[in-house]
């Protein structure tokens, strides 16, 4: 059986506000989520690689949640935004392996989502979902550690981050292929 090989791209979007507001947690922009990222990505692929590029990389129109019609058993979504966390700005994208370079370049060439400027930073690229999950969990931990270091709160201080880490870990582990 010919298997469908994928690449899982872990990308972090760093918001740029006037200067670059990367380190502090800015809950102010709640404007991006999985769907808006997918739309921005689609636009980037269309602008830079044209219709042929979009045909090679992304088929589905509806993104991550779609209803499978009765007669079609297999709908393969070649480009999919699988996970997005607004607190850590981490996004996991699944692409077909043959054209992952194009999709990766499209992510790099993104400059803004919904009008707000971002810097896309691809932190990890893996072939299996397992390693993508591990990388995502350790990235979340690092980001939370950075927030805590910036907030300079005393060691035993109970902030909401622990519960966030737990829930996000569950969400990430729940991702299916």
């Amino acid at each position: 059986m010919v298997r469908f090989k994928n690449r899982w791209i872990l990308a972090e979007f760093i918001p740029v506000v006037h200067g670059s507001a990367q380190l502090g947690k800015r809950a102010a922009q709640a404007n991006i989520d999985g769907k808006t990222i997918w739309a921005a990505l689609k636009q980037s692929v269309l602008d830079n690689f044209g219709d042929t590029g979009w045909g090679a990389v992304g088929l589905s129109l509806t993104g991550e949640s779609s209803v499978v019609p009765r007669n079609l058993k297999l709908i393969f979504f070649l480009l999919l935004v699988k996970y997005f966390s607004p607190t850590t700005n981490l996004c996991i994208i699944r692409v077909a392996r043959d054209h992952h370079n194009m999709a990766w370049a499209a992510v790099t060439l993104l400059t803004a989502i919904e009008g707000v400027r971002y810097i896309p930073n691809v932190i990890h690229l893996s072939g299996t979902i397992k390693h993508a999950q591990l990388a995502a969990i350790s990235h979340n931990r690092e980001v939370i550690a950075r927030y805590r270091a910036l907030a300079k709160s005393p060691v035993a201080y109970q902030d909401g981050f622990d519960s966030f880490l737990e829930t996000s870990e569950l969400e990430i582990e729940a991702m299916q292929d």
């Binding site: 760093i14 670059s20 990766w104 370049a105 992510v107 790099t108 400059t111 810097i119 930073n121 691809v122």
Partner: protein, 319 residues
């Protein structure tokens, strides 16, 4: 270890009035770095480190030619005032934009060697055919004045000269590299002095020109001798090193060559640039030991074993 060897720093120097008889004060005029400017530079460096760069080359751009009397190395004082970061290296670089007026000479002469020693890297931006051949042939030869980086103006609508195979091959053989600034791929803003000097363009047309010219450059150099760097003015245009390497991999550079362009090639360039300060590009050090009464046999034997070169000892016969 990722290198970004082109972080443009813009600083206008107040014009110095020269004395009537051309007498200049020996000390460097104090360049005032305002704390707001330093904070902006610090922020950009923080972002670069977050994205994964460890060696950062701050660059100053000069148009047409270097006038030794009025030129000030603004980067010296900037680097002195930057915060200490363990594990991060700052380098100073000078970009010289060459055009028709610089064909006769632009200050890269032996008399100004001491000025150029304050910079770690020298780059040339040729905009005419003659200056391009000058840069490839004459200035890539090893000497105290070698310009190791040739930065082509990739965002111009038409690359001003045809990239001849023989010229580029000679330059690469001599050790020079061709630089690609990834800011053009994003359609981001280029360094203002480059835009003024007609060596770069901003705007959507610049993106198209960049893709076309960079593809041509990659074709001529066959993926070797390429240096990938930023040239980024706005913080929002910065990209992680692997992302930038992927951009040129899409163009046709092999994946390992693309990765080399931001790791191995800049590393060898930085070391090669240090040879400018040595005699005839020799990087080892010979120890001269003059035996007096104090120098014992044991010391001489230890020195001989330590250094690969034998100590140069005047023999008794010559006396």
């Amino acid at each position: 270890m990722f290198f970004d060897l082109n972080v443009p720093i813009k600083k206008t120097i107040p014009r110095q009035s020269t004395g009537k008889k051309g007498k200049q004060a020996a000390s460097e005029p104090a360049v005032n770095w305002v704390s707001a400017e330093i904070a902006a530079v610090e922020e950009r460096i923080d972002l670069l480190i977050h994205l994964g760069y460890t060696v950062i080359g701050l660059s100053q751009t000069v148009n047409k030619k270097v006038d030794a009397k009025t030129h000030v190395n603004v980067l010296n004082q900037l680097v002195a005032q930057l915060r200490e970061r363990p594990g991060i290296v700052y380098l100073k670089r000078l970009n010289i934009i060459l055009d028709q007026d610089s064909e006769k000479g632009f200050g890269l002469i032996n008399a100004n060697v001491s000025l150029f020693h304050t910079y770690d890297l020298i780059a040339l931006v040729p905009t005419t055919h003659n200056t391009f051949s000058l840069a490839c042939l004459t200035h890539s030869l090893p000497s105290p004045l070698t310009a190791h980086i040739i930065s082509l103006p990739l965002t111009l609508p038409r690359l001003p000269y045809h990239l001849k195979h023989t010229l580029t091959r000679t330059a690469i053989k001599n050790g020079a590299v061709f630089e690609i600034n990834y800011v053009g791929a994003l359609g981001g803003e280029n360094d203002a002095s480059l835009v003024e000097a007609d060596a770069a363009e901003n705007g959507p047309a610049a993106k198209r020109n960049w893709w076309a010219s960079t593809r041509e450059l990659v074709r001529v150099t066959k993926g070797k001798g390429l240096l990938l760097s930023g040239g980024v003015v706005i913080d929002g245009d910065l990209r992680a090193p692997r992302d930038a390497a992927n951009l040129i991999a899409v163009l046709g550079v092999a994946q390992d060559a693309a990765h080399d362009a931001s790791t191995k090639t800049p590393k060898s360039i930085v070391i090669r640039a240090q040879t400018r300060k040595t005699y005839r590009a020799v990087l080892s050090e010979a120890k001269v030991v003059v035996p007096g009464e104090a120098t014992s046999e044991k010391t001489l034997k230890r020195l001989r074993e330590d250094s690969q070169l034998a100590p140069i000892i005047p023999t008794k016969k010559q006396k």
